[in-house]
């Protein structure tokens, strides 16, 4: 649906050039929710604004439904943009217009017939749950309501793609959850492909199918959300996973346990999260696991759990127990102070 090919973007301020994007390639499949996560300054905002060419790449190509947008004339580009909705962190509504006008005016300006406009405004206000606010001005709405209006405004053009530029970053946690489930519903019921950027891992956790991690203008890691969660490869990805699963154990405790066995991190993905793996280990091997920290969370379609466990027992029995856990589909990593280390 959207395809970035070797995108580079250089901003040249007065004396020095900054590379906001450095050879970025990305493919967003039709019907998916694709998340791009990164810290501020990573270049993710520039990337999402490339999708509809609000920002033009220095080199590289942006394909939308097979057409290279960078080659289009302004009027052709404007036509293409009508097929891609966009919502923003700061909502960007007309202050001088009612909710109705905010949704209806852009439709009018893009040549939608008058009769149809009324029907569409009504339809999409219902989808976002603001039927009773049609005549309110944005100043009278809460942040969550404003973002709903912005979503309705974007959807009213009946686009195939919705671009979200930090759409939940200005909202409180409850409102964020409500907006996320709305986006999820839009994706499922209307079949709209969503490309979103965020710095919050819970956004990725809740609704994304795929995720790309950005750092310093580059995509450093990319894949299914579950894979990135279970086995983050880069430091940045690990830090993002840590932000949701804080599994650090007090150092003193780790030191005191080090002599009497191994400390490991167990990640349970999908199937394996349902099995009483630790109980089975205790029964079959001469090891005594004790749980030092534990988390379980629901990813978009499957649960994901992580335990830090101290396995007390002799080396051979512990090794057998670990092999058994790996057989069960549990991902086992050695615990290392201030980070994790893989054991084989």
């Amino acid at each position: 649906m959207i395809h970035f090919e070797n995108i580079t973007k250089v901003f040249d301020a007065k004396s020095k050039e900054t590379k906001a994007l450095d050879d970025v390639s990305l493919h967003v499949k039709k019907g998916t929710i694709f998340g791009v996560i990164g810290y501020s300054g990573a270049g993710k905002s520039t990337l999402v604004r490339m999708a509809n060419l609000l920002e033009k790449p220095t080199t590289g190509k942006v394909y939308f439904k097979g057409t290279d947008l960078t080659t289009l004339s302004m009027s052709k580009l404007q036509e293409a943009r009508r097929n891609m909705g966009m919502i923003f962190q700061s909502f960007n509504l007309l202050k001088t217009g009612t909710v109705y006008e905010n949704i209806a005016n852009p439709l009018k300006l893009t040549g939608v017939p008058k009769k149809e406009i009324q029907a569409r405004v009504a339809k999409y206000l219902e989808i976002v749950g603001l039927q009773d606010k049609a005549n309110a001005y944005p100043a009278k709405l809460s942040g969550g309501q404003k973002q709903r209006v912005a979503i309705a405004r974007a959807l009213a053009h009946e686009p195939e793609v919705l671009l979200c530029d930090e759409a939940t970053s200005a909202l409180d946690p409850d409102t964020t959850d409500a907006i996320l489930s709305l986006l999820d519903r839009i994706n499922q019921e209307l079949g709209i492909t969503i490309l979103l950027i965020t710095h919050e891992m819970n956004v990725v956790q809740n609704i994304c199918h795929e995720v790309a991690v950005m750092d310093n203008g580059r995509i450093i890691e990319q894949g299914k959300v579950i894979d990135v969660f279970a086995q983050p490869k880069t430091k940045t990805a690990k830090r993002f996973v840590q932000s949701l699963f804080n599994d650090s154990v007090p150092e003193q405790l780790v030191n005191s346990l080090e002599g009497s066995g191994q400390i490991v991190t167990l990640s349970f993905v999908g199937e394996s999260s349902g099995k009483p793996a630790l109980a089975m280990v205790t029964k079959q091997f001469d090891v005594y696991p004790s749980i030092l920290s534990g988390n379980i969370a629901q990813l978009k379609d499957q649960p994901f759990g992580r335990l830090v466990v101290h396995l007390q027992g002799n080396a051979t029995e512990t090794q057998k127990a670990i092999s058994y856990l790996i057989e069960l589909g549990v991902i086992v990593e050695g615990y290392k102070k201030g980070g994790k280390q893989h054991v084989s």
């Binding site: 404007q78 293409a80 943009r81 960007n92 509504l93 100043a139």
Partner: protein, 224 residues
């Protein structure tokens, strides 16, 4: 006392009325034309700035230069300085029609500047949202830029109108009449203080009224 007031109005009423009408004519016509020139000029000035939709460094600097040049000239000098131009445009350099051209040249750049400061207040994000929806620049100008800044534009026009009233006072020098002219010729040159006081009083009421009216409309258009 009451007799002297009615005497005064019997003597001066028609003259004051005529001067008031002349002031209204000058302000009304000059303001209308100045808006027609100043508003698009302000839009052009804003949009040709760096990072804007119609970025054009050369045009932007030329506009800046011309507007600053005209705005540096006091009206009374401008009035005589452009006499040949006025003659060419209006066919005359005297009377109400002889003063419209200088009033417009004086006011339009001022309005353009006021427009610029109003338009620059519009949130960049909203403009971007409209660009992202594939809406044409000319539609964005009217339906976002001007719409969103209309409250501030009205306040600007109020300021410009009051400035214009001040300028019309000097129009008497080319025989265009008006309240300022009346106060100067009779009140000052002929030592008829009462005419001066009444004229000044009318001008105060006029300016107060316009400012109040402008504030009211502006507040009504503001929705946040």
């Amino acid at each position: 006392m009451s007799a002297s007031i009615s005497d005064f109005f019997e003597n001066w009423g028609p003259d004051i009325w005529e001067a008031l009408i002349q002031t209204f004519q000058m302000v009304g016509i000059a303001l209308a034309i100045s808006i027609l020139i100043g508003l698009p000029l302000g839009v052009l000035l804003t949009l040709s700035g760096s990072g804007k939709a119609l970025e054009n460094k050369f045009l932007h600097q030329i506009l800046n230069l011309v507007i600053n040049m005209i705005r540096s000239i006091p009206f009374i000098i401008l009035l005589f300085f452009i006499l040949p131009f006025t003659k060419f445009i209006a066919g005359t350099t005297i009377g109400v029609s002889g003063v419209i051209a200088p009033l417009v040249i004086y006011t339009a750049p001022y309005i353009a500047r006021l427009m610029e400061s109003s338009l620059l207040e519009v949130d960049r994000g909203v403009i971007e949202a409209y660009e992202a929806m594939g809406i044409k620049t000319r539609h964005i100008i009217w339906h976002v830029l001007i719409r969103e800044s209309r409250s501030s534009i009205i306040l600007g026009l109020t300021i410009a109108t009051i400035g214009l009233i001040g300028a019309t006072a000097m129009a008497g020098l080319v025989g265009a009449g008006g309240l300022g002219d009346l106060a100067y010729r009779f009140g000052h040159l002929r030592y008829q203080a009462d005419v001066m006081y009444v004229t000044v009083f009318i001008l105060i009421i006029l300016v107060q009224g316009i400012q109040t009216f402008g504030n009211l409309i502006s507040a009504k258009l503001k929705k946040d």
